[in-house]
């Protein structure tokens, strides 16, 4: 590890870039090369920093729980600190952010035609805030990043979006805010509980983990946290902002929204909601799991009937993120590992889908599936890329979508087979709607005259979709590269949640939740599969 404050660097680099941009004159109007290139360079540099974080990260199970820690007092009177640190889970999400931002910027070359400077500033601020969310270990700081992030996204949707953009932008910000302010009350409540217990305020997550919170308080605080994250994920029935925001956002906005922002909900559940309130978490887990199965199936069914490609992909996100939440609620190692992996996989593949849909609508200025057909003959390269990403999204074995969904279903099966069955139905449905869309877009004769002479992928578009497609395959073939750093982090979270369960619920099944005796991580691939027992969690009656 170097002496540099790497995490601060990752946050500050985009901010400095944004401030620099303020002083760059927008000379060239919409096609300003200098501003675009500068922004891209800053985001690539940030990506390099995130990769350096990965390189310096100690992913041995015995390694420190949080690394690259930075701790400075911010508001000492209330124990509020500028406290950053990452474990494997945050590391992966930060790398994902670093990876997707330059790609999103590259998609903007065609889709953003005005006010490039403002656009670039908002993108960079957004990136900084996203990285901040994933590495803040002080709840106050976390909330600050969480809220700051809404503003650039609001502008991205509202200024550069499609025709319903203002409505979508306002809906996005109000929905998210409504959830998060209740979380703020709970955060404040936690700090006062810490004050009551120790005589000092604290927003430090690690200290708050140790707090002994009575169940009735956990009940309300968990609900407040879970609501904030459920809206962000978004979990059925809090998903209604998502189709609007995704569809109306410009392509780069959609890529970031689907690729990273939704993950903050899952991350929040794993990092804060469940470990801070383990008893209440276990109490509500079945309800949330039920909702996520509903989300999986409902999202898939609604996606199936969408005439608009972008809307279809948006609803597919509801379905896929349902998997993530289901995996988290299993509260076992396989489930949470799977959820974490699925977040990364979904970021790559759905980011890719939005990028591709954006490329098509840039050419034709329509997102209606019925306007296309037979595109394979016109744009074979784009078709190939689309196929790779589609297969990744439906979870073909060997592609990234498979690993996460498989682990999640494995985890769900150990808990209660019924959830796994529901989720399995979702896998089938996702193949149906994705492949059906693929078929309608690309196969058959070219029916629409406008489609006869479309240019195929340009070099810049290759730069967008190439890395995404490559990642989709790499993640599917070498999942351990990504699962390994997350392993110790997931183990610790599961340990913590189990340790707080009533003794009656602590049966031998805890061994499975921990991933079996021999498997500290990589449960599904390296270790003998634990014997399958159904409904291991029915015992305790919590």
């Amino acid at each position: 590890m170097t002496g540099l404050p790497m995490l601060s660097l990752a946050i500050l680099l985009p901010v400095i870039g944004a401030i620099l941009l303020l002083f760059v004159r927008n000379t060239d109007g919409a096609k300003d090369g200098l501003i675009r290139n500068l922004t891209l360079a800053v985001s690539l540099a940030t990506f390099a920093v995130t990769l350096a974080l990965w390189a310096g990260f100690d992913s041995a199970p015995a390694g420190e729980s949080f690394q690259f820690m930075e701790r400075h007092p911010w508001i000492p009177a209330f124990g509020i600190e500028y406290f950053l640190g990452i474990d494997g889970l945050s590391l992966m999400l930060i790398v994902l952010t670093g990876f997707l931002t330059p790609i999103a910027l590259l998609t903007s070359w065609d889709s953003i035609g005005s006010r490039v400077k403002e656009f670039s500033i908002f993108m960079l601020v957004l990136e900084a805030a996203m990285i901040g969310v994933f590495c803040a270990l002080d709840l106050f700081l976390f909330y600050v990043f969480w809220d700051i992030l809404l503003i650039p996204m609001y502008f991205l949707i509202g200024i550069w979006g499609y025709d319903q953009r203002v409505y979508a932008a306002v809906k996005f910000i109000l929905y998210t805010l409504a959830g998060s302010v209740l979380m703020l009350v709970a955060i404040i409540g936690l700090s006062w509980m810490h004050f009551a217990a120790t005589g000092q305020y604290s927003f430090n997550v690690l200290e708050l983990y140790a707090l002994d919170i009575p169940f009735n308080v956990q009940y309300w605080f968990f609900l407040a946290f879970a609501l904030a994250f459920a809206i962000k994920v978004p979990l059925f029935p809090f998903h209604t902002w998502l189709p609007d925001a995704h569809v109306q956002a410009p392509t780069p906005g959609s890529v970031i929204l689907a690729g990273v922002l939704l993950k903050m909900g899952g991350y929040g559940l794993i990092r804060f909601a469940f470990p801070l309130f383990p008893e209440a978490g276990a109490y509500f887990a079945p309800v949330i799991a039920m909702l996520s199965v509903v989300a999986i199936i409902y999202g898939a069914l609604v996606a199936m009937v969408q005439p608009d490609m972008k809307k279809l992909v948006a609803y597919s996100s509801v379905s896929h993120m349902g998997f993530v939440v289901l995996g988290i609620t299993t509260l076992n190692v396989q489930g949470i590992q799977g959820a974490s992996f699925q977040m990364l996989a979904h970021g790559v593949s759905t980011g890719g889908l939005f990028a591709l849909v954006g490329m098509m609508s840039d050419r034709r200025h329509t997102r209606l599936i019925s306007e296309y057909g037979g595109i394979k003959a016109v744009m074979p390269k784009l078709t190939a890329a689309f196929l790779v990403i589609t297969l990744a999204s439906v979870g073909l074995p060997g592609m990234n979508g498979f690993v996460g969904e498989f682990l999640i279903m494995l985890g769900a099966f150990q808990w209660d087979a019924r959830y796994a069955v529901g989720a399995g139905l979702g896998v089938i449905l996702s193949a149906v709607y994705m492949l059906w869309m693929f078929q309608r877009l690309f196969y058959g004769p070219v029916t629409n005259d406008h489609n006869k002479h479309l240019p195929d992928l340009s070099f810049r578009e290759w730069a967008v979709i190439g890395p995404l497609a490559a990642m989709a395959i790499v993640m599917g073939v070498f999942p351990n590269v990504f699962l390994k750093p997350m392993g110790p982090a997931v183990d610790r979270i599961v340990e913590r949640v189990i340790a707080h369960q009533p003794a009656s619920a602590r049966t031998d099944s805890d061994e499975f939740r921990r991933g079996g005796p021999a498997a500290a991580h990589l449960p599904a691939f390296d270790s003998p599969r634990p014997p399958v027992t159904t409904s291991v969690r029915t015992a305790g009656g919590y």
Partner: protein, 479 residues
């Protein structure tokens, strides 16, 4: 010592002198001669600020009715800041609107004198006098655009209702005097505490009547009816001044009276303030949503902010008092910035405060639009601005005192308020300008004032620790 007796009054004297000098200068001003009257006012304000800073931690008192404890010094500094920003922003509008500069700046200074007296007074009668000094000056300022019907109407409403409210307050003081035999806060407090008067009808009447007077001045529901009209009628700079300065002074006196002298009766008045705070936050935001005039909208927003301030009072703790102080500072820089922009974009003939007037502002005035966005985000309580830290602070106080319900009402109403703040942003950034004339550019001292506001908003939002420590140090010495 003679000199010591005057210590606590020195800041007020600075300003009163400055006010008199401005008036005199105006009297001797030749026709058409330009005088830097705003500069004179600034000198007075800076002098008062320096005097206040020098009094920090000294707990000076004067004549047994005035104090210069840290609490009042903090409030004074907020008020002086309000004054400085107001003067800076006025530099562009007074001339444009053809207002009589001498009277304008003199009234501004006298209003500030009243405000500072209010923050420093420890005697109910002096609070009343300060209230009147402040109010009369502000009534005049509200009606300063005599050529405009709205201005006159707003001033008249404000005056009539304000006079009523002041008399309610005085009546309340009379009751309290009747029961306790004193108007001095410490004496009143000790009598109430010693005789456990919590159920006494006379004293309850007195408390209730005083509450009406204070609630009127901070525009708490249901005593808020005057404020949208007065705020809309007054010149926009004056509205900014009123909504921050008057509120700061009134809430400071409110907190001092209710949290020192009447603290033993907290179980009697807390439920009333609970209802008042909840109603104020909800009504302020919900009605604000329906407004299309920016000034009116910010008037309702200002009502809602009064509700948040009440959270600090009801919490009754040191955290609550410090939260009030921090909130006042944050709100002052933010709201003055917002009203300053409204004022600067207006013209002599039209106030240009309709939402549609802001369409496409980001194209014609990118800098001003960005400033306005920051101020609106701060009003809505977004990090990294002052408004966020201030809101967190008052909610923290409420939660710490066990008022989870109020905190939830507060955060939810602040979400609703974001909706209408964002409507302005939507107009500025996401709508095209129609055929209306492009407003004049903002420059010079006024721009510097706005920049100062922004600096305050960001400083209080990003590096709050120091001011927060001051706020805490301000409440630990008193009450």
């Amino acid at each position: 010592m003679f000199s010591n007796a005057f210590d606590a009054v020195i800041p007020v004297i600075c300003l009163a002198l400055a006010g008199l000098v401005v008036m005199l200068a105006e009297a001797f001003r030749g026709k058409g001669e330009r005088m830097p009257l705003g500069g004179l006012a600034l000198i007075g304000l800076v002098g008062a600020a320096a005097a206040s800073v020098l009094l920090w931690n000294r707990n000076a008192t004067s004549f047994g009715v005035m104090t210069a404890d840290n609490f009042s010094i903090f409030v004074n500094l907020v008020i002086i800041m309000v004054g400085i920003l107001t003067v800076a922003i006025s530099s562009q509008t007074v001339e444009r609107d053809g207002l009589p500069a001498g009277e304008y700046y003199a009234m501004l200074l006298f209003a500030i004198v009243g405000m500072m007296l209010m923050a420093q007074a420890t005697d109910l009668l002096l609070i009343f006098l300060a209230l009147e000094t402040m109010s009369i000056a502000v009534y005049i300022l509200t009606g300063f655009r005599r050529d405009q019907v709205q201005s006159t109407e707003g001033a008249f409403k404000y005056f009539l209702l304000g006079a009523f409210a002041s008399s309610f307050f005085l009546y309340g003081v009379a009751f309290i005097y009747g029961v306790t035999g004193s108007t001095g806060l410490d004496r009143v407090g000790s009598v109430i505490a010693a005789q456990s008067m919590s159920g006494n009808v006379m004293i309850l009447l007195g408390v209730g009547l005083m509450l009406v007077g204070f609630a009127f001045k901070i525009a708490a529901v249901p005593f808020h009816m005057w404020s949208p009209d007065a705020y809309e009628g007054a010149p926009a700079v004056v509205t900014g001044f009123m909504s921050t300065g008057v509120k700061a002074a009134a809430i400071a006196a409110f907190a001092r009276v209710f949290l020192s002298a009447l603290e033993p009766m907290i179980t009697d008045w807390a439920p009333i303030i609970w209802g008042m705070a909840a109603a104020t936050m909800v009504v302020g935001t919900v009605v604000g949503v329906a407004q299309t005039s920016l000034k009116r909208m910010l008037a309702y927003s200002s009502i809602a902010h009064g509700g948040y301030l009440l959270l600090g009072i009801i919490a009754g703790s040191d955290v609550g008092k410090a939260a009030i102080l921090y909130y006042l500072a944050a709100y002052a820089v933010t709201n003055l910035g917002a009203f300053g922009i409204i004022a600067l974009l207006g013209t002599r003939a039209r106030a240009n405060d309709d939402l549609r007037d802001y369409a496409g502002l980001a194209q014609s005035h990118p800098g001003v639009a960005a400033l306005m966005t920051f101020f609106l985000l701060s009003l809505g309580g977004f990090p990294p601005t002052a408004g966020f830290i201030a809101k967190w602070y008052v909610f923290s106080a409420a939660v710490g005192a066990g008022y989870y319900g109020l905190a939830v009402i507060g955060v939810l109403s602040s979400v609703v308020s974001v909706f209408f703040y964002l409507r302005v942003v939507v107009m500025m950034y996401m709508s095209e300008r129609d055929a209306r004339p492009v407003p004049a550019p903002v420059a010079g001292v006024a721009l510097a004032g706005l920049a100062l506001s922004l600096a305050g908003v960001l400083y209080l939002g990003i590096l709050p620790a120091r001011v927060l420590d001051w706020a805490q140090a301000s409440v630990s010495t008193i009450f």
